[in-house]
Symmetry: C2
DNA sequence: CAAAAATGTAAAGTATATTTGTCATTAAGT
DNA sequence: ACTTAATGACAAATATACTTTACATTTTTG
């Protein structure tokens, strides 16, 4: 699964730390998701969806390997 | 977070077991998600999205407590 | 350039997702 | 009513998300 969280962050012009605080997780969690170190929970994805103002499928996309 | 997986299953007319096999998880995992025993990963949500033919936000919705 | 802010990463600990196996209960079919 | 299929649930084991702390590197800004 790939994601475009970095792009969404750029659109909102916020840092990883600010995004983390907005949705109530640690900065490292945001960093790890952006760098594909692990797959977030659906609740976290929905919180990002709410903040970004667009559906989960817009910034999280399945890859062939998934 | 609440979900309408049971409804989506009814639309496709498939059992928990069949759904589980389609997306490559155990039947208990599907059952547990339907019954809100735990929150699935975003990859699992995207696989359901693909199978259901609709965005994740359509069948997974945040609640006030989230 | 120098300082500060932002990012990347790692280790250790905790919480929770997911599996497999199993059994009880309910629903559906004959 | 009987049989089978489907669902709900639990326990133990394993995998992985997420936290906190900490530090190095990169980027931004004065």
């Amino acid at each position: 699964m790939k994601n475009t969280i970095k792009v969404e962050r750029a659109i909102l012009d916020i840092t990883q730390d600010e995004l983390a605080k907005e949705i109530g997780v640690s900065r490292q969690t945001i960093n790890s998701i952006e760098k594909n170190r692990y797959v977030p929970s659906t609740v976290l994805a929905l919180k990002l969806s709410k903040l970004f103002g667009k559906p989960v499928n817009d910034f999280f996309v399945l890859e062939d390997q998934d």
